[in-house]
C-alpha cells in the first residue's frame, strides 16, 4: 500500500504543477481560443485529482460538464461572435492594471496559502474511502432534495432568459 501512496503523491504533484501552469497560461495567453484550451487542461487536471481521491463519479461529471459542455460552449461562442484566429491585443490590460492585479494576486496567494497550510498542516488524509455513486445519489435525494429541486427551476429560468436575450426580435 505504501508504494501506491507514493505513486499517488507523485501523480498529485505532477498534475498540480500542470494545473498551475495551465492556469497561468489561461490568463497570460493573447489568443482567446488558446486560453480556452489551456482552461481545458486546468479542468482536466482537476478531474485527474478527483480520480486520485477515488471520487470517480465527480471526476467523470467534471469531464462531462466542464470539458464536454461548458468549454465547448465557450469555444462555440467565441467562434460565432469573433472568429479572430491571431493574437488579440485588446485582451491585454494596461501595465498599471497588470501590476496591481499581480500584487493583489500575490497577496491573496500568501493569505490563502498561509491559512490553508495553517489549518491542515501535518494532517494526513488517512485511507481514501472509495465513494460510491449510489451514496452521491442517496444524499442528493434525501439531505439535498430541496436544493436539487430548486436547481431545476434555476435551469428552467436560465434557459428561458438565455433564449430571450439571444434571439433576434
Amino acid at each position: 500500500m505504501f508504494g501506491l501512496l507514493v505513486a499517488q503523491n507523485i501523480a498529485f504533484y505532477v498534475i498540480a504543477a500542470l494545473i498551475v501552469f495551465g492556469a497561468l497560461r489561461v490568463v497570460t495567453c493573447k489568443n482567446l481560443v488558446h486560453a480556452a484550451l489551456w482552461l481545458v487542461l486546468v479542468l482536466a487536471g482537476v478531474a485527474g485529482q478527483y480520480i486520485l481521491l477515488a471520487a470517480e463519479f465527480v471526476a467523470v461529471t467534471q469531464v462531462l460538464v466542464y470539458l464536454g459542455a461548458i468549454v465547448v460552449l465557450f469555444l462555440f461562442g467565441i467562434m460565432l461572435t469573433r472568429a479572430k484566429t491571431g493574437h488579440d491585443l485588446e485582451l491585454d490590460n494596461p501595465t498599471p492594471a497588470k501590476v496591481g492585479a499581480g500584487v493583489i494576486g500575490v497577496l491573496l496567494l500568501g493569505v490563502m496559502g498561509y491559512a490553508l497550510w495553517d489549518a491542515w498542516r501535518g494532517q494526513e488524509l488517512g485511507d481514501i474511502v472509495v465513494q460510491r455513486t449510489a451514496e452521491v445519489s442517496d444524499s442528493l435525494f434525501s439531505t439535498y432534495l430541496l436544493p436539487f429541486e430548486v436547481i431545476s427551476v434555476l435551469l428552467l429560468a436560465a434557459l428561458i432568459g438565455a433564449i430571450v436575450l439571444a434571439r433576434r426580435d
Binding site: L64, V72, L75, T85
Partner: protein, 402 residues
C-alpha cells in the same frame, strides 16, 4: 479503486502489470484491425447497395485496400495552410483519435457469461475480465469521452483559418452537443433498468434469462424498444454519419472541418471516424444486446463470449452502413427539430414511464391502473407538446417572431 476487475483487487505484482499491458496491446490491435475492416466493409457494402463492385483489387475481395490507402496517405505531402494556427492545427487530429481509443477501453469484448458465470477469465493464474478497464462509472466515462470528441472537430475547423472548415465545425459541435442530451437520456433508461453504471455489470445483468426463459434478458426488451431506437439515431448524429453528416456536406462545405487537412493528419480524422463507428457499435451491443453474453454449448466459454460479441457487432456495423446507404441527408433545421423536439421528449418521457413502472412494482400497485393512468398522462403531454409546436409554428408564420 480501479473498478470491479478482480485482477486489481489483490496484491499488485509484476504479473498483474504485464496482464494489464497485454490487454492494452490486444485492445489496441483489435480496435485497429476492426477499424481497417470497417472501412473495407463500408465500401464493400455500399458498393453492393449501389450495384457497384467496390474495392476488389488489393488482396482477396479487396481486403487490403485500406492498408494500401494508409500507405498512400503516409507518403503524401503534409500541407500546413498559411493562415492556420499551427499548434492547434496539429493538435486537432490527435484530439479526435485519442477519445476514440479511450472509448473502447470500457467495452467488455469477451468472457464467459453463460449459465450464471460472471465473465471472469483465468489468465496466468489471475482472474480477470476481458475488458481493459471496468470503472464503476463506466458508461458515464463513455458519455464523457464522446463529448470530449467534439474538441477535435471544433478545433480542426477553427485552426484551419478558412471559412468552410469553420462552418463545418460550428455545425458539428452544435449537432453533437444537441444529440448528447438524447444519447444521455436513453443511457439513463438502461441504467435505470440494470441498476449499475459499470459496463461489466450491465452485461452480467443482461446475461440472465428474460421472459419465458428463452428470450434473452437484453435491455433491448427490458428497457423497452424506445431507448434503443433513440440511442441508435442519436449515435449516428453523434458520429456525424449519414444521414446526419451535415458536418461534411460536400455541396455546401467542400469537405467540412477537415477540408484543409491532408496526408497523415487527414488519415487520422478518417480513421477516427470509422473507429468511432466501431466503438459506438460495440457500446450499443453492450448497452442493449448483452455484449458478449450468450450460450456456450461446448469448448471454452470465453471464446464463445468473444464470438457472440463479434457477431453482434458485425450486425450493427452492417446496420450502420445500411442506414448510410439508404437514407438521404437531412436538412439542418430538420436535424435540430428531430433532436430537440422528437428525440429528447421521447426519451425523457420513456424514462419517466420506466421509473413509474419501477415504483409501481416496488409499491405493489395495480399494473393495469398504472398503465392506464400513465398512458393518459403521456397522451396529455404528447398533445400539449404538439399543440405548443403548432402554436410556435403559427406564430412564426404570422411573423410575430422569427
Amino acid at each position: 479503486m480501479l473498478g470491479g476487475d478482480p485482477l486489481l483487487s489483490g496484491d499488485i505484482d509484476l504479473a498483474v502489470v504485464l496482464i494489464v499491458l497485454l490487454k492494452v496491446v490486444v485492445v489496441f490491435a483489435l480496435l485497429l484491425v476492426a477499424t481497417m475492416f470497417m472501412i473495407w466493409w463500408e465500401r464493400k457494402i455500399i458498393g453492393d447497395l449501389q450495384n457497384r463492385i467496390g474495392p476488389n483489387t488489393a488482396g482477396p475481395f479487396g481486403l487490403f485496400q485500406t492498408f494500401a490507402d494508409g500507405v498512400k496517405f503516409f507518403f503524401k505531402e503534409d500541407l500546413l495552410p498559411d493562415r492556420a494556427q499551427r499548434r492547434v492545427f496539429i493538435l486537432a487530429p490527435l484530439l479526435t483519435v485519442v477519445p476514440a481509443f479511450l472509448l473502447f477501453c470500457i467495452v467488455p469484448f469477451g468472457g464467459d457469461f453463460a449459465n450464471g458465470a460472471n465473465g471472469t477469465v483465468e489468465l496466468f493464474g489471475h482472474e480477470t475480465y476481458l475488458q481493459l478497464a471496468d470503472p464503476p462509472v463506466g458508461i458515464l466515462f463513455a458519455l464523457a469521452m464522446s463529448s470530449v470528441a467534439v474538441y477535435g472537430v471544433m478545433l480542426a475547423g477553427w485552426s484551419s483559418g478558412s471559412k468552410y472548415p469553420l462552418l463545418g465545425s460550428v455545425r458539428a459541435s452544435a449537432q453533437m452537443v444537441s444529440y448528447e442530451a438524447a444519447l444521455g437520456l436513453s443511457v439513463c433508461a438502461v441504467v435505470l433498468t440494470t441498476g449499475t453504471l459499470s459496463t461489466h455489470g450491465m452485461v452480467v445483468h443482461q446475461a440472465g434469462d428474460g421472459w419465458g426463459s428463452f428470450i434473452p434478458n437484453w435491455n433491448l426488451l427490458a428497457a423497452g424498444i424506445v431507448p434503443f431506437v433513440v440511442f441508435l439515431i442519436a449515435s449516428q448524429a453523434e458520429l456525424n454519419r449519414p444521414p446526419f453528416d451535415l458536418v461534411e456536406a460536400e455541396q455546401e462545405l467542400v469537405g467540412g472541418y477537415h477540408t484543409e487537412y491532408s496526408s497523415i493528419r487527414f488519415a487520422l480524422f478518417f480513421v477516427a471516424e470509422f473507429m468511432n463507428s466501431v466503438t459506438m457499435g460495440a457500446i450499443i451491443v453492450t448497452l442493449f444486446l448483452g455484449g458478449p453474453a450468450g450460450p456456450a454449448p461446448w469448448g471454452p466459454g470465453w471464446l464463445w463470449g468473444v464470438g457472440w460479441f463479434l457477431l453482434k457487432l458485425l450486425v450493427f456495423l452492417f446496420v450502420f452502413v445500411w442506414i448510410r446507404g439508404t437514407l438521404p441527408r437531412v436538412r439542418y433545421d430538420q436535424l435540430m427539430d428531430l433532436g430537440w423536439k422528437v428525440l429528447i421528449p421521447i426519451s425523457l418521457g420513456w424514462l419517466l414511464v420506466l421509473a413509474t413502472f419501477h415504483v409501481a412494482r416496488d409499491q405493489h400497485w395495480n399494473g393495469v391502473v398504472v398503465a392506464l393512468v400513465g398512458a393518459a398522462i403521456g397522451l396529455t403531454f404528447f398533445g400539449l407538446l404538439r399543440f405548443a409546436i403548432a402554436t410556435s409554428k403559427a406564430r412564426r408564420l404570422e411573423g410575430v417572431v422569427d
